[in-house]
């Protein structure tokens, strides 16, 4: 066990390091903040002075070395535009992103799984038909398109819900559905396929022959077997949703991680972009590790790490 843990931590560190180099270099290739922030009247000398203050005049490897030495202390530098520590800006946006992600995941689980179960239990029934449409639509439509339609119908048209922003549970409804429908669709199909397969297995047939009531068959035997892929799928979606449902955040003015990354790179706020991407990568790694751990725990037969 410890060996596998060490290996995982090792590879996580390598990934983080690689990503930090990548984003550090990439973001400097996008543009020069001095040109953006200084007014047109500035001379090249003015801009050079500005760059000096931001530490951008040194060669990139020197800047990177300096960067590495400070992030071990948790200091990602100050945002160029806001003047406050970049990490604090990232932290502020993490909350809303987590809220949106977890809510979307909850929506996906509590909509997709029951639908999938109902569809599997009664083939060609109403639930089966409905789940097919639900899943098909969810996987075919881009979330931003849904977002626009939802706002048009439910917010502007019917006036039930606010058009955007962050603050109350009403602000959460439309973004969650727009974001979570895709995952709900996937979960629905996954649950249905798994449950269908298990329900036709020899094991379950035996239980039926033995006279176990149907609902016990479904709930006890079948669900247990279907649970594993569902859990891993749900957990894997988490890592992706947090990464930035950028178009949803844009349309709903949701102060999340994704729009932070877009804004900060648009403004060439290097420190914030670096902090955001590294934190997001770290989250990704943690989620992946948790998924693998869950997998190994739930099904000890699998020893793939």
């Amino acid at each position: 066990m410890p060996a596998f843990l060490l290996r995982r931590i090792g590879s996580a560190l390598v990934t983080l390091l690689l990503m930090s180099v990548l984003i550090f270099v990439m973001v400097r290739m996008v543009g020069d903040p001095a040109h953006l922030m200084m007014p047109p009247e500035a001379t090249e000398a003015d801009r050079a002075l500005f760059r000096e203050q931001l530490g951008l005049n040194d060669p990139v490897p020197v800047q990177y070395a300096r960067f590495l030495s400070t992030i071990v202390r948790g200091d990602f530098g100050n945002s160029f535009h806001f003047g406050v520590p970049a990490l604090s800006i990232v932290e502020d946006r993490l909350g809303p992103s987590l809220l949106l992600t977890l809510s979307a995941l909850a929506f996906a689980i509590f909509t997709g799984v029951p639908l999938g179960i109902a569809a599997a239990v009664k083939k060609d029934g109403f639930a089966d038909q409905f789940s097919k449409i639900f899943a098909a639509l969810g996987q075919a439509a881009p979330p931003f398109f849904f977002a626009l339609l939802f706002i048009r119908l439910f917010s502007v048209g019917l006036g039930w819900l606010p058009t955007g922003g962050y603050g109350s549970w009403q602000h959460l409804v439309l973004p969650v559905i727009a974001l979570g429908w895709y995952s709900a669709a996937g979960l629905c199909r996954l649950t249905q396929a798994n449950l269908t397969a298990v329900l036709q297995s020899e094991y379950v047939k035996m239980a039926r022959i033995k006279g176990v009531p149907e609902h016990v068959v479904v709930l006890k035997h079948a669900l247990k077997n279907a649970a594993l892929p569902v859990i891993t799928f749900a957990a894997s979606q988490f890592g992706i949703l947090i990464g930035g449902a950028v178009s949803i955040e844009a349309v709903f003015s949701w102060p999340g991680f994704g729009s932070l990354m877009v804004e900060s790179i648009n403004q060439l706020d290097f420190t914030v972009v670096q902090a955001a991407v590294i934190v997001s990568t770290l989250l990704f790694i943690v989620i992946n590790f948790t998924v693998d751990l869950l997998y190994a725990l739930i099904d000890p037969r699998i020893s793939h790490v």
């Binding site: 007014p39 047109p40 102060p255």
Partner: protein
């Protein structure tokens, strides 16, 4: 089976949408979003840095006149009026400016305002460590600042600057010197700004998505009626429109052009289109002798080829006005209103083009940046395509566009606008049409001579006369392609009493209130 259900579902959804589209009647609520002591304003971008002397002007012009104050300021029409200073004496050569300061003015933290605060503010701008974006405006011209007594401050300039008053009014917010000195580093000022404007900062939401200001009861001037000003950043334009329609905000700024007509029909809203004295124009690089744009006939031809009236009517949805030259008609001085835009005459355009040696047109590139409506460039490209000039559109981010402009690499054509910050045409004209202008690839000896002259002249009357001549030359020389005056669209609830600042993007809530 699935498919037919899907189709039916889609059609039903479409019908629902269509019925909602046609049948919705809005009655925007006229009640305050919070209460009669509070005003909620929806702005288009987050607030970044509350240090008015450091942050980019696009950021500060929203809160600047609320939190800060200046020695002289601009009234509603852009005329320069005394604020923290009661009088100014300008030397005949426009190199020495002496201000007499108002007595009894208090900062938000209770300290008294004296001349040393003016000096400290300028030093804050000039200090490289503060990373002030205003530095290029003051560093080349300010030689020294003297404070002979607590209520007199004298600026001695290195070179004559007839627009120095405008710079003082537009850029020089006053910060408290002692407070500044007490901070560990200049960056800390933005965390807890202190100044002497009618409002002080109550709360700044992380990321700048919300800014709450509270009335400063010891303000030296007329106290504002509104006690609490709440600024909400709603970046998505559609959401901003929806927010004002639903009454979630009391005032909305910078609304998209396509919504103008629709908003005007709303019973509970006042919709104001206000010029920001900024020309929407296509900058053209005329300094390359090999390029067709170095020939005046070519530039004139292309000017005749655009139907600006049609563009204003459809692309800008009527929110614009034709411009004949680079100086907006909404400057308090300097604009010659008799200069008219080139009329739409494609036949003459083709003739001129042939005369210039391009009978079958040519190919060129137009650089555009994301903030301006891209339909504008698509339409211009279509008009020029009709006379044989094939235009490739090159869409850049704002950052990339700035960089190319600054490094004179955005040619041969760049769709731009030049925001007014000073209420004096020197800023845009000097920047875009003088030989050494930072965003200029045009040079004309007549213009240069006039600009030299205007630098040593102060006073609206005299400067205005010179600029009118400049404007005429720029028109006759077709120095750029002037599409329209740039307007901002504002919307407010009918019961809100608020006057929009004319001729610039500055937001002024000092006299706002509820009817």
């Amino acid at each position: 089976m699935v498919f037919s259900k899907v189709i039916r579902g889609l059609l039903a959804g479409g019908a629902l949408a269509a019925s909602l589209a046609s049948g919705v009647v809005h009655a925007t609520t006229d009640k305050p979003a919070v209460d009669r002591d509070t005003l909620v304003v929806g702005v288009e971008k987050e607030f970044q840095n509350l240090d008015g002397l450091v942050t980019i002007s696009g950021d500060s012009l929203r809160y600047g006149w609320q939190i800060y104050d200046t020695l002289y300021g601009f009234d509603l029409e852009g005329k320069i009026v005394p604020r923290l200073a009661t009088s100014v004496t300008i030397s005949p050569d426009s190199k020495v400016f002496t201000y007499k300061l108002r007595k009894g003015v208090k900062f938000h933290n209770g300290t008294q305002f004296t001349s040393k605060d003016v000096k400290a503010s300028v030093e804050h701008i000039l200090d490289p460590k503060s990373k002030s974006t205003r530095r290029p405006y003051f560093a080349p011209i300010v030689d020294s600042i003297e404070t002979p007594d607590p209520y007199t401050v004298t600026f001695k300039l290195k070179v004559p600057d007839g627009a120095f008053q405008n710079k003082v009014a537009g850029y020089l917010y006053i910060l408290p010197g002692d407070y500044l000195a007490s901070l560990a580093n200049p960056d800390a000022f933005a965390q807890a700004p202190v100044s002497l404007g009618p409002y002080k900062v109550k709360r700044y939401a992380p990321g700048g998505s919300e800014l709450v200001l509270e009335r400063f009861d010891d303000f030296w001037g007329e106290k504002p009626k509104i006690k609490t000003l709440i600024f909400k950043a709603i970046t998505e334009p559609v959401s901003r429109v929806n927010a004002i329609l639903r009454g979630e905000i009391d005032v909305a700024v910078v609304l998209p052009f396509p919504d103008y007509d629709r908003l005007k029909k709303e019973a509970g809203l006042d919709v104001i289109s206000s010029p920001v004295a900024s020309p929407l124009y296509i900058r053209v690089y005329t300094d390359d002798p090999a390029s067709p744009f170095s020939k005046r006939e070519v530039r004139q031809a292309l000017s005749y080829a655009i139907d600006t009236n049609a563009i204003i009517k459809s692309v800008l949805h009527g929110v614009g006005e034709p411009l004949g030259t680079f100086i907006s008609n909404y400057y308090p001085y300097g604009a010659k209103k008799s200069i008219k835009a080139y009329p739409y005459d494609p036949k003459k355009a083709r003739e001129l083009l042939a005369k210039a040696g391009y009978p079958s047109g040519f190919e060129t590139t137009l650089n555009i940046q994301g903030d301006l409506p891209k339909e504008l460039s698509e339409t211009v490209a279509a008009y020029w395509g009709q006379i044989g000039v094939k235009v490739k559109l090159n869409r850049l981010t704002y950052a990339a566009f700035q960089r190319l402009n600054n490094t004179h690499a955005s040619g041969p054509l760049a769709l731009s606008q030049f925001t007014n910050a000073l209420y004096d045409p020197i800023h845009p004209v000097g920047g875009a049409f003088s030989k050494d202008g930072s965003w200029s690839n045009y040079s004309n000896p007549d213009v240069e001579a006039l600009l030299q002259k205007v630098n040593s002249v102060s006073g609206a009357q005299q400067r205005g006369e010179i600029f009118e001549q400049v404007g005429q030359i720029l028109h006759d020389d077709a120095a750029g392609f002037f599409l329209s005056e740039y307007f901002y669209i504002y919307a407010k609830k009918k019961s809100v009493q608020w006057d929009v600042q004319k001729g610039s993007g500055f937001l002024n809530f000092r006299t706002a209130g509820w009817k």
